[in-house]
Protein backbone atom coordinates (compact mmCIF):
# COMPACT_ATOMS: atom_id res chain seq x y z
CA UNK A 1 0.00 0.00 0.00
CA UNK A 2 1.45 3.45 -0.86
CA UNK A 3 2.41 5.45 2.22
CA UNK A 4 -0.12 8.17 1.45
CA UNK A 5 -2.96 5.65 1.72
CA UNK A 6 -1.35 4.05 4.78
CA UNK A 7 -1.03 7.37 6.60
CA UNK A 8 -4.60 8.28 5.75
CA UNK A 9 -5.97 4.92 6.83
CA UNK A 10 -3.93 4.36 9.97
CA UNK A 11 -3.44 7.89 11.31
CA UNK A 12 -5.95 10.38 9.96
CA UNK A 13 -9.04 8.15 9.84
CA UNK A 14 -8.63 6.62 13.35
CA UNK A 15 -7.99 10.04 14.88
CA UNK A 16 -11.09 11.49 13.23
CA UNK A 17 -13.15 8.44 14.19
CA UNK A 18 -11.98 8.73 17.80
CA UNK A 19 -13.04 12.36 18.03
CA UNK A 20 -16.33 11.55 16.30
CA UNK A 21 -17.12 8.90 18.92
CA UNK A 22 -15.82 10.61 22.05
CA UNK A 23 -18.70 13.11 22.52
CA UNK A 24 -21.02 10.11 22.96
CA UNK A 25 -19.02 8.68 25.83
CA UNK A 26 -17.40 11.73 27.43
CA UNK A 27 -19.37 14.65 28.78
CA UNK A 28 -16.95 17.54 28.63
CA UNK A 29 -17.71 18.50 25.05
CA UNK A 30 -15.98 21.86 25.30
CA UNK A 31 -12.74 20.11 26.20
CA UNK A 32 -13.08 17.76 23.22
CA UNK A 33 -13.81 20.72 20.97
CA UNK A 34 -10.70 22.51 22.23
CA UNK A 35 -8.65 19.39 21.53
CA UNK A 36 -9.87 19.41 17.95
CA UNK A 37 -9.12 23.13 17.59
CA UNK A 38 -5.58 22.64 18.90
CA UNK A 39 -5.06 19.64 16.63
CA UNK A 40 -5.95 21.88 13.69
CA UNK A 41 -3.78 24.78 14.86
CA UNK A 42 -0.78 22.60 15.73
CA UNK A 43 -0.97 21.01 12.27
CA UNK A 44 -1.36 24.48 10.76
CA UNK A 45 1.86 25.51 12.50
CA UNK A 46 3.38 22.27 11.22
CA UNK A 47 2.54 23.25 7.64
CA UNK A 48 4.24 26.61 7.81
CA UNK A 49 6.98 25.98 10.37
CA UNK A 50 7.68 22.28 9.90
CA UNK A 51 7.74 22.38 6.15
CA UNK A 52 9.10 25.87 5.44
CA UNK A 53 10.85 27.01 8.65
CA UNK A 54 8.81 30.15 9.26
CA UNK A 55 7.89 30.34 12.96
CA UNK A 56 4.46 32.02 13.08
CA UNK A 57 4.34 33.75 16.46
CA UNK A 58 1.30 35.65 15.28
CA UNK A 59 -0.52 32.58 14.01
CA UNK A 60 -3.58 33.53 16.09
CA UNK A 61 -4.09 36.48 13.72
CA UNK A 62 -5.60 34.12 11.14
CA UNK A 63 -7.70 32.40 13.79
CA UNK A 64 -9.08 35.68 15.14
CA UNK A 65 -9.66 37.05 11.66
CA UNK A 66 -11.54 33.85 10.80
CA UNK A 67 -13.68 34.16 13.95
CA UNK A 68 -14.59 37.73 13.02
CA UNK A 69 -15.17 36.75 9.41
CA UNK A 70 -17.70 34.23 10.69
CA UNK A 71 -19.30 36.77 13.05
CA UNK A 72 -19.64 39.46 10.39
CA UNK A 73 -21.23 37.03 7.94
CA UNK A 74 -23.77 35.99 10.58
CA UNK A 75 -24.45 39.43 12.04
CA UNK A 76 -24.61 41.46 8.85
CA UNK A 77 -25.56 38.99 6.16
CA UNK A 78 -27.61 36.46 8.17
CA UNK A 79 -25.40 33.84 6.59
CA UNK A 80 -25.95 30.18 7.50
CA UNK A 81 -23.12 28.96 9.71
CA UNK A 82 -21.42 26.58 7.22
CA UNK A 83 -21.15 29.33 4.61
CA UNK A 84 -19.77 31.68 7.28
CA UNK A 85 -17.10 29.09 8.12
CA UNK A 86 -16.07 28.96 4.47
CA UNK A 87 -15.81 32.75 4.47
CA UNK A 88 -13.75 32.54 7.69
CA UNK A 89 -11.21 30.40 5.85
CA UNK A 90 -11.14 32.87 2.97
CA UNK A 91 -10.61 35.74 5.41
CA UNK A 92 -7.61 33.81 6.75
CA UNK A 93 -6.27 33.48 3.21
CA UNK A 94 -6.89 37.18 2.51
CA UNK A 95 -4.93 38.11 5.63
CA UNK A 96 -2.21 35.68 4.51
CA UNK A 97 -1.99 37.50 1.18
CA UNK A 98 -1.85 40.85 2.96
CA UNK A 99 0.99 39.61 5.17
CA UNK A 100 2.84 37.85 2.31
CA UNK A 101 5.61 40.50 2.31
CA UNK A 102 6.63 39.18 5.74
CA UNK A 103 7.93 36.06 3.98
CA UNK A 104 10.88 38.16 2.84
CA UNK A 105 12.04 38.17 6.46
CA UNK A 106 13.70 35.19 8.06
CA UNK A 107 14.17 33.67 11.50
CA UNK A 108 13.37 35.81 14.50
CA UNK A 109 12.58 38.83 12.33
CA UNK A 110 9.74 36.97 10.69
CA UNK A 111 8.47 35.67 14.04
CA UNK A 112 8.42 39.14 15.58
CA UNK A 113 6.88 40.82 12.55
CA UNK A 114 4.18 38.15 12.46
CA UNK A 115 3.46 38.73 16.17
CA UNK A 116 3.20 42.47 15.53
CA UNK A 117 0.88 41.83 12.59
CA UNK A 118 -1.47 39.74 14.74
CA UNK A 119 -1.58 42.52 17.35
CA UNK A 120 -2.32 45.03 14.61
CA UNK A 121 -5.26 42.94 13.39
CA UNK A 122 -6.54 42.65 16.99
CA UNK A 123 -6.41 46.41 17.49
CA UNK A 124 -8.02 47.01 14.13
CA UNK A 125 -10.93 44.69 14.94
CA UNK A 126 -11.26 45.98 18.51
CA UNK A 127 -11.26 49.63 17.44
CA UNK A 128 -14.38 51.33 18.83
CA UNK A 129 -14.67 53.27 15.57
CA UNK A 130 -15.57 49.98 13.87
CA UNK A 131 -18.32 49.19 16.36
CA UNK A 132 -20.99 49.10 13.67
CA UNK A 133 -19.07 46.37 11.82
CA UNK A 134 -17.12 44.34 14.39
CA UNK A 135 -18.77 45.55 17.63
CA UNK A 136 -15.29 46.85 18.50
CA UNK A 137 -14.06 46.05 22.00
CA UNK A 138 -17.56 45.15 23.20
CA UNK A 139 -17.51 41.67 21.73
CA UNK A 140 -20.01 39.80 19.62
CA UNK A 141 -23.03 37.75 20.62
CA UNK A 142 -24.32 35.76 17.67
CA UNK A 143 -27.99 34.91 17.34
CA UNK A 144 -29.48 32.04 15.43
CA UNK A 145 -26.36 29.98 14.74
CA UNK A 146 -25.66 28.57 18.20
CA UNK A 147 -25.33 24.81 17.72
CA UNK A 148 -22.33 23.22 19.48
CA UNK A 149 -22.99 19.78 18.01
CA UNK A 150 -22.92 21.06 14.45
CA UNK A 151 -19.96 23.31 15.21
CA UNK A 152 -18.08 20.33 16.62
CA UNK A 153 -18.79 18.34 13.46
CA UNK A 154 -17.64 21.33 11.42
CA UNK A 155 -14.38 21.34 13.39
CA UNK A 156 -13.92 17.64 12.60
CA UNK A 157 -14.30 18.38 8.88
CA UNK A 158 -11.68 21.15 9.16
CA UNK A 159 -9.41 18.73 11.03
CA UNK A 160 -9.88 16.18 8.25
CA UNK A 161 -8.91 18.78 5.66
CA UNK A 162 -5.87 19.83 7.69
CA UNK A 163 -4.71 16.25 8.17
CA UNK A 164 -5.22 15.70 4.46
CA UNK A 165 -2.89 18.60 3.69
CA UNK A 166 -0.22 17.33 6.08
CA UNK A 167 -0.48 13.73 4.82
CA UNK A 168 -0.04 15.08 1.29
CA UNK A 169 3.00 17.15 2.29
CA UNK A 170 4.55 14.18 4.07
CA UNK A 171 4.15 11.97 1.00
CA UNK A 172 4.71 14.16 -2.02
CA UNK A 173 7.62 15.70 -3.82
CA UNK A 174 5.79 18.97 -3.16
CA UNK A 175 6.35 18.44 0.58
CA UNK A 176 9.97 17.44 -0.04
CA UNK A 177 10.51 20.57 -2.10
CA UNK A 178 9.10 22.71 0.72
CA UNK A 179 11.54 21.12 3.13
CA UNK A 180 14.33 21.69 0.65
CA UNK A 181 13.39 25.38 0.61
CA UNK A 182 13.47 25.37 4.41
CA UNK A 183 16.96 23.81 4.45
CA UNK A 184 18.48 26.09 1.82
CA UNK A 185 16.40 28.31 -0.40
CA UNK A 186 19.04 28.94 -3.07
CA UNK A 187 20.01 25.27 -3.31
CA UNK A 188 16.31 24.48 -3.65
CA UNK A 189 15.96 26.95 -6.50
CA UNK A 190 18.93 25.20 -8.14
CA UNK A 191 16.92 22.00 -7.90
CA UNK A 192 14.35 23.83 -10.02
CA UNK A 193 11.99 24.75 -7.18
CA UNK A 194 10.09 28.04 -7.44
CA UNK A 195 10.90 29.13 -3.91
CA UNK A 196 8.60 32.16 -3.63
CA UNK A 197 5.59 30.28 -5.00
CA UNK A 198 6.13 27.26 -2.74
CA UNK A 199 6.46 29.39 0.39
CA UNK A 200 3.36 31.32 -0.55
CA UNK A 201 1.29 28.16 -1.05
CA UNK A 202 2.35 26.77 2.35
CA UNK A 203 1.73 30.11 4.04
CA UNK A 204 -1.77 30.44 2.55
CA UNK A 205 -2.63 26.81 3.36
CA UNK A 206 -1.72 27.35 6.99
CA UNK A 207 -3.67 30.63 7.00
CA UNK A 208 -6.66 28.85 5.49
CA UNK A 209 -6.89 26.16 8.16
CA UNK A 210 -6.44 28.69 10.98
CA UNK A 211 -9.16 30.88 9.45
CA UNK A 212 -11.48 27.86 9.27
CA UNK A 213 -10.62 26.98 12.88
CA UNK A 214 -11.48 30.52 13.96
CA UNK A 215 -14.77 30.22 12.09
CA UNK A 216 -15.87 27.00 13.80
CA UNK A 217 -14.66 28.38 17.12
CA UNK A 218 -16.91 31.43 16.72
CA UNK A 219 -19.75 29.12 15.73
CA UNK A 220 -19.19 26.96 18.82
CA UNK A 221 -18.93 29.73 21.42
CA UNK A 222 -21.20 32.33 19.76
CA UNK A 223 -20.19 34.95 22.35
CA UNK A 224 -16.67 36.29 22.40
CA UNK A 225 -14.45 39.34 22.74
CA UNK A 226 -11.52 40.33 20.55
CA UNK A 227 -9.11 39.36 23.33
CA UNK A 228 -10.53 35.81 23.38
CA UNK A 229 -10.01 34.98 19.74
CA UNK A 230 -6.77 36.93 19.36
CA UNK A 231 -5.24 35.56 22.56
CA UNK A 232 -1.52 34.91 22.15
CA UNK A 233 -2.12 31.63 24.02
CA UNK A 234 -3.44 30.12 20.79
CA UNK A 235 -0.20 30.85 18.92
CA UNK A 236 2.03 29.77 21.77
CA UNK A 237 0.12 26.57 22.55
CA UNK A 238 -0.07 25.55 18.90
CA UNK A 239 3.67 26.17 18.43
CA UNK A 240 4.65 24.37 21.64
CA UNK A 241 2.42 21.38 20.88
CA UNK A 242 3.82 21.06 17.38
CA UNK A 243 7.44 21.45 18.50
CA UNK A 244 7.02 19.08 21.43
CA UNK A 245 5.82 16.25 19.23
CA UNK A 246 8.10 17.09 16.33
CA UNK A 247 7.35 18.99 13.14
CA UNK A 248 7.53 17.92 9.49
CA UNK A 249 5.75 14.69 10.47
CA UNK A 250 2.05 13.83 10.66
CA UNK A 251 2.19 12.22 14.08
CA UNK A 252 4.43 14.71 15.93
CA UNK A 253 1.89 17.52 16.37
CA UNK A 254 -0.85 14.99 17.22
CA UNK A 255 1.31 13.45 19.95
CA UNK A 256 2.20 16.95 21.16
CA UNK A 257 -1.43 18.03 21.50
CA UNK A 258 -2.59 14.81 23.14
CA UNK A 259 0.20 14.79 25.73
CA UNK A 260 0.67 18.48 26.47
CA UNK A 261 -2.93 19.61 26.23
CA UNK A 262 -3.84 16.50 28.22
CA UNK A 263 -1.37 17.40 30.96
CA UNK A 264 -2.48 21.01 30.78
CA UNK A 265 -6.04 20.04 31.52
CA UNK A 266 -5.18 17.51 34.22
CA UNK A 267 -2.97 19.91 36.13
CA UNK A 268 -5.20 22.85 35.32
CA UNK A 269 -8.26 21.17 36.87
CA UNK A 270 -6.72 19.76 40.02
CA UNK A 271 -3.79 21.95 40.96
CA UNK A 272 -3.79 25.08 38.80
CA UNK A 273 -1.12 26.68 41.00
CA UNK A 274 1.48 24.20 39.77
CA UNK A 275 0.47 24.30 36.16
CA UNK A 276 2.70 27.07 34.93
CA UNK A 277 5.68 25.73 36.85
CA UNK A 278 5.43 22.21 35.48
CA UNK A 279 4.59 23.38 32.01
CA UNK A 280 7.47 25.83 31.99
CA UNK A 281 9.94 23.16 33.15
CA UNK A 282 8.66 20.80 30.51
CA UNK A 283 9.23 23.34 27.76
CA UNK A 284 12.75 24.18 28.98
CA UNK A 285 13.62 20.51 29.15
CA UNK A 286 12.26 20.01 25.67
CA UNK A 287 14.26 22.83 24.11
CA UNK A 288 17.43 21.68 25.87
CA UNK A 289 17.22 17.94 25.36
CA UNK A 290 14.80 17.29 22.50
CA UNK A 291 14.88 20.25 20.12
CA UNK A 292 13.48 18.15 17.30
CA UNK A 293 10.58 16.90 19.41
CA UNK A 294 9.53 13.55 20.79
CA UNK A 295 9.60 11.89 17.38
CA UNK A 296 13.34 12.51 17.21
CA UNK A 297 13.74 9.80 19.86
CA UNK A 298 12.81 7.43 17.06
CA UNK A 299 14.31 9.21 14.04
CA UNK A 300 17.70 9.43 15.79
CA UNK A 301 17.74 5.65 15.78
CA UNK A 302 17.06 5.65 12.09
CA UNK A 303 13.42 4.69 12.47
CA UNK A 304 10.89 6.12 10.09
CA UNK A 305 8.22 8.26 11.74
CA UNK A 306 5.17 9.03 9.60
Amino acid sequence: MPSLARHTLFIAVPLLALFAILPGVYNNHLLLFNFVIFLILAQGVNIIYGFTGYLPFGYVGFFGAGAYGFAIMVMHFQSPAPLAVVVAGLVGVALGLLLAPLLRLTGAYFAIANLAAALAVLHFVANPALESITKGPYGVALNGTFNPTMAYNGALIILALTLGIVVFLRNSSFGLALQAVREDAFSASMAGVNVLKMRMIAWLASALVAGFAGGVFAWYVSVFYPDNVFSADFSIFAIVFALFGGVATITGPIVGVVILYGIYNLIGFTTPQYFQLIYGLLIIGLVLFLPAGLVSLATRRGWYVP
Binding site: L176, Q179, E183, S187, S189, M190, A191, G192, N194, A248
Partner: protein, 243 residues
Amino acid sequence: MSPDAVPILKVNDLLKRFGGFHALDGLTFHVSPGEILGLVGPNGSGKTTAINVISGLYAPDRGDVVFDGVSVGGMASHKLVHRGINRTFQIPKPFLSLTVRENIAVALAYGRAEVTPPSTAELLVDFHLDAVADRPASELNSAQQKMLDLVRALATRPRLLLLDELAAGLNPTELDWIAGRIKTLAKSGMAIIVVEHLMGFIEQITDRVIVMNAGKEIFEGTLAVAVKVPEVIEVFLGGEHAA
Protein backbone atom coordinates in the same frame (compact mmCIF):
# COMPACT_ATOMS: atom_id res chain seq x y z
CA MET B 1 36.92 22.16 -29.38
CA SER B 2 36.33 23.18 -32.94
CA PRO B 3 36.43 27.00 -33.22
CA ASP B 4 33.22 27.18 -35.23
CA ALA B 5 31.09 25.62 -32.48
CA VAL B 6 28.19 27.88 -31.52
CA PRO B 7 28.59 29.05 -27.92
CA ILE B 8 25.75 28.05 -25.61
CA LEU B 9 26.68 30.75 -23.10
CA LYS B 10 27.92 34.24 -23.82
CA VAL B 11 28.74 36.56 -20.97
CA ASN B 12 28.99 40.15 -22.01
CA ASP B 13 30.64 43.00 -20.11
CA LEU B 14 29.30 41.84 -16.74
CA LEU B 15 29.43 44.25 -13.85
CA LYS B 16 28.46 43.25 -10.34
CA ARG B 17 28.78 45.68 -7.45
CA PHE B 18 28.71 45.02 -3.72
CA GLY B 19 28.36 48.50 -2.29
CA GLY B 20 31.08 50.47 -4.03
CA PHE B 21 33.18 47.37 -4.70
CA HIS B 22 33.20 45.87 -8.20
CA ALA B 23 33.32 42.08 -7.79
CA LEU B 24 32.82 41.73 -11.56
CA ASP B 25 34.11 44.53 -13.72
CA GLY B 26 33.47 43.99 -17.40
CA LEU B 27 33.76 40.22 -17.58
CA THR B 28 33.28 38.81 -21.08
CA PHE B 29 33.64 35.20 -22.22
CA HIS B 30 31.80 32.32 -23.88
CA VAL B 31 31.61 28.54 -23.68
CA SER B 32 30.37 25.99 -26.21
CA PRO B 33 28.59 22.63 -25.89
CA GLY B 34 31.02 19.85 -25.11
CA GLU B 35 33.70 22.27 -23.97
CA ILE B 36 35.35 22.34 -20.54
CA LEU B 37 36.37 25.89 -19.73
CA GLY B 38 38.59 26.60 -16.73
CA LEU B 39 37.94 29.76 -14.71
CA VAL B 40 40.96 30.52 -12.57
CA GLY B 41 42.26 33.46 -10.59
CA PRO B 42 43.38 34.38 -7.11
CA ASN B 43 41.07 34.48 -4.08
CA GLY B 44 38.47 37.20 -4.39
CA SER B 45 38.95 37.67 -8.13
CA GLY B 46 35.23 37.13 -8.75
CA LYS B 47 34.98 33.51 -9.92
CA THR B 48 32.16 32.54 -7.54
CA THR B 49 30.43 35.85 -8.19
CA ALA B 50 30.48 35.09 -11.93
CA ILE B 51 28.83 31.73 -11.24
CA ASN B 52 26.33 33.39 -8.91
CA VAL B 53 25.31 35.87 -11.61
CA ILE B 54 25.09 33.22 -14.35
CA SER B 55 22.97 30.99 -12.08
CA GLY B 56 20.62 33.80 -11.09
CA LEU B 57 21.53 34.51 -7.46
CA TYR B 58 22.39 38.08 -8.45
CA ALA B 59 21.18 40.19 -11.32
CA PRO B 60 24.09 41.84 -13.12
CA ASP B 61 24.39 45.60 -12.58
CA ARG B 62 25.45 45.94 -16.20
CA GLY B 63 26.06 43.62 -19.13
CA ASP B 64 24.23 40.51 -20.12
CA VAL B 65 24.15 36.76 -19.88
CA VAL B 66 22.99 35.09 -23.09
CA PHE B 67 22.14 31.40 -22.81
CA ASP B 68 21.16 29.48 -25.92
CA GLY B 69 20.47 32.73 -27.75
CA VAL B 70 18.22 34.14 -25.04
CA SER B 71 19.16 36.99 -22.71
CA VAL B 72 18.76 35.52 -19.21
CA GLY B 73 20.55 38.06 -17.01
CA GLY B 74 18.59 38.52 -13.78
CA MET B 75 16.17 35.67 -14.50
CA ALA B 76 14.97 33.65 -11.46
CA SER B 77 17.22 30.69 -10.70
CA HIS B 78 14.56 28.00 -11.02
CA LYS B 79 13.77 29.26 -14.52
CA LEU B 80 17.44 29.06 -15.44
CA VAL B 81 17.45 25.50 -14.15
CA HIS B 82 14.47 24.73 -16.37
CA ARG B 83 16.35 26.20 -19.34
CA GLY B 84 19.31 23.95 -18.61
CA ILE B 85 21.77 25.84 -16.40
CA ASN B 86 22.96 24.28 -13.15
CA ARG B 87 25.84 24.56 -10.73
CA THR B 88 27.52 23.22 -7.65
CA PHE B 89 28.45 25.28 -4.60
CA GLN B 90 31.94 26.06 -3.31
CA ILE B 91 30.50 25.12 0.08
CA PRO B 92 27.85 22.51 -0.72
CA LYS B 93 24.38 23.16 0.67
CA PRO B 94 22.49 19.88 0.46
CA PHE B 95 19.09 19.63 2.16
CA LEU B 96 20.55 18.39 5.42
CA SER B 97 17.50 16.88 7.10
CA LEU B 98 16.43 15.03 3.95
CA THR B 99 17.95 11.71 2.95
CA VAL B 100 20.29 11.49 -0.02
CA ARG B 101 17.52 9.88 -2.02
CA GLU B 102 15.06 12.65 -1.07
CA ASN B 103 17.62 15.30 -2.00
CA ILE B 104 17.79 13.79 -5.47
CA ALA B 105 14.03 13.32 -5.66
CA VAL B 106 13.46 17.08 -5.32
CA ALA B 107 15.74 17.85 -8.26
CA LEU B 108 14.23 15.05 -10.33
CA ALA B 109 10.70 16.28 -9.67
CA TYR B 110 11.35 19.99 -10.14
CA GLY B 111 14.19 20.00 -12.69
CA ARG B 112 13.76 20.26 -16.45
CA ALA B 113 10.36 18.90 -17.36
CA GLU B 114 10.99 18.38 -21.07
CA VAL B 115 13.88 15.92 -20.74
CA THR B 116 13.88 12.38 -19.39
CA PRO B 117 15.54 12.63 -16.00
CA PRO B 118 18.43 10.28 -15.21
CA SER B 119 17.66 7.37 -12.89
CA THR B 120 18.29 7.78 -9.18
CA ALA B 121 19.95 4.38 -8.95
CA GLU B 122 22.43 5.27 -11.68
CA LEU B 123 23.29 8.63 -10.15
CA LEU B 124 23.79 7.01 -6.74
CA VAL B 125 26.14 4.39 -8.13
CA ASP B 126 28.00 6.74 -10.47
CA PHE B 127 28.87 9.13 -7.65
CA HIS B 128 29.46 6.57 -4.92
CA LEU B 129 26.44 7.50 -2.85
CA ASP B 130 24.53 4.20 -3.01
CA ALA B 131 25.71 3.06 0.42
CA VAL B 132 24.35 6.20 2.07
CA ALA B 133 21.23 6.61 -0.08
CA ASP B 134 18.84 6.44 2.86
CA ARG B 135 20.90 8.44 5.35
CA PRO B 136 20.17 12.10 6.03
CA ALA B 137 22.53 14.38 4.08
CA SER B 138 23.74 15.80 7.41
CA GLU B 139 25.57 12.51 8.04
CA LEU B 140 27.65 12.69 4.84
CA ASN B 141 31.31 13.69 4.91
CA SER B 142 32.31 16.77 2.96
CA ALA B 143 33.42 14.87 -0.15
CA GLN B 144 30.09 13.02 -0.20
CA GLN B 145 28.20 16.31 0.26
CA LYS B 146 30.05 17.65 -2.78
CA MET B 147 29.05 14.62 -4.78
CA LEU B 148 25.44 14.98 -3.65
CA ASP B 149 25.55 18.63 -4.68
CA LEU B 150 26.81 17.56 -8.11
CA VAL B 151 24.16 14.86 -8.37
CA ARG B 152 21.47 17.42 -7.46
CA ALA B 153 22.68 19.50 -10.39
CA LEU B 154 22.93 16.55 -12.80
CA ALA B 155 19.46 15.32 -11.88
CA THR B 156 18.09 18.37 -13.70
CA ARG B 157 19.96 17.34 -16.90
CA PRO B 158 21.81 20.65 -17.39
CA ARG B 159 23.23 21.75 -20.72
CA LEU B 160 25.58 24.14 -18.94
CA LEU B 161 27.18 23.04 -15.68
CA LEU B 162 29.14 25.38 -13.43
CA LEU B 163 31.48 23.64 -10.98
CA ASP B 164 32.78 25.82 -8.14
CA GLU B 165 35.85 24.17 -6.59
CA LEU B 166 34.39 20.72 -6.78
CA ALA B 167 37.86 19.15 -6.54
CA ALA B 168 39.04 21.03 -3.46
CA GLY B 169 39.57 18.61 -0.59
CA LEU B 170 39.48 15.43 -2.69
CA ASN B 171 42.40 12.97 -2.53
CA PRO B 172 44.46 12.13 -5.67
CA THR B 173 42.46 8.98 -6.45
CA GLU B 174 39.18 10.83 -6.12
CA LEU B 175 40.58 13.66 -8.27
CA ASP B 176 41.42 11.29 -11.12
CA TRP B 177 38.07 9.68 -10.87
CA ILE B 178 36.08 12.95 -10.85
CA ALA B 179 38.21 14.29 -13.72
CA GLY B 180 37.10 11.27 -15.73
CA ARG B 181 33.46 11.89 -14.81
CA ILE B 182 33.63 15.53 -15.86
CA LYS B 183 35.18 14.60 -19.21
CA THR B 184 32.46 12.02 -19.81
CA LEU B 185 29.80 14.66 -19.13
CA ALA B 186 31.45 17.03 -21.60
CA LYS B 187 31.60 14.28 -24.25
CA SER B 188 27.84 13.95 -23.95
CA GLY B 189 27.59 17.57 -25.13
CA MET B 190 27.38 19.42 -21.85
CA ALA B 191 29.19 22.75 -21.61
CA ILE B 192 31.15 22.86 -18.36
CA ILE B 193 32.83 25.71 -16.54
CA VAL B 194 35.31 24.60 -13.90
CA VAL B 195 36.44 26.98 -11.17
CA GLU B 196 39.48 25.52 -9.47
CA HIS B 197 42.68 26.42 -7.68
CA LEU B 198 44.34 23.06 -8.42
CA MET B 199 46.28 23.78 -11.60
CA GLY B 200 47.13 20.12 -12.23
CA PHE B 201 43.43 19.30 -12.24
CA ILE B 202 42.65 22.24 -14.54
CA GLU B 203 45.43 21.16 -16.89
CA GLN B 204 44.10 17.62 -16.97
CA ILE B 205 40.53 18.44 -17.97
CA THR B 206 40.19 21.87 -19.60
CA ASP B 207 40.35 22.81 -23.25
CA ARG B 208 40.81 26.50 -22.50
CA VAL B 209 41.10 28.76 -19.46
CA ILE B 210 40.07 32.28 -18.54
CA VAL B 211 42.31 33.88 -15.96
CA MET B 212 40.47 36.44 -13.85
CA ASN B 213 41.77 39.19 -11.65
CA ALA B 214 39.74 41.87 -9.88
CA GLY B 215 36.56 40.95 -11.72
CA LYS B 216 38.10 41.06 -15.21
CA GLU B 217 39.54 38.61 -17.67
CA ILE B 218 43.30 39.08 -17.99
CA PHE B 219 44.03 36.04 -20.16
CA GLU B 220 42.24 33.60 -22.38
CA GLY B 221 43.83 30.51 -23.92
CA THR B 222 45.40 27.24 -22.85
CA LEU B 223 46.83 26.84 -19.39
CA ALA B 224 50.22 25.96 -20.85
CA VAL B 225 50.41 29.41 -22.45
CA ALA B 226 48.84 31.16 -19.45
CA VAL B 227 51.62 30.19 -17.08
CA LYS B 228 54.15 31.94 -19.34
CA VAL B 229 52.32 35.28 -19.41
CA PRO B 230 53.98 37.81 -17.06
CA GLU B 231 50.70 39.43 -15.95
CA VAL B 232 49.25 36.03 -15.03
CA ILE B 233 52.37 35.05 -13.09
CA GLU B 234 52.32 38.39 -11.31
CA VAL B 235 48.68 37.97 -10.26
CA PHE B 236 49.25 34.48 -8.91
CA LEU B 237 52.51 35.21 -7.14
CA GLY B 238 50.93 38.31 -5.63
CA GLY B 239 48.04 36.23 -4.28
CA GLU B 240 48.00 33.37 -1.78
CA HIS B 241 47.94 30.68 -4.42
CA ALA B 242 51.47 30.96 -5.75
CA ALA B 243 51.69 28.56 -8.68
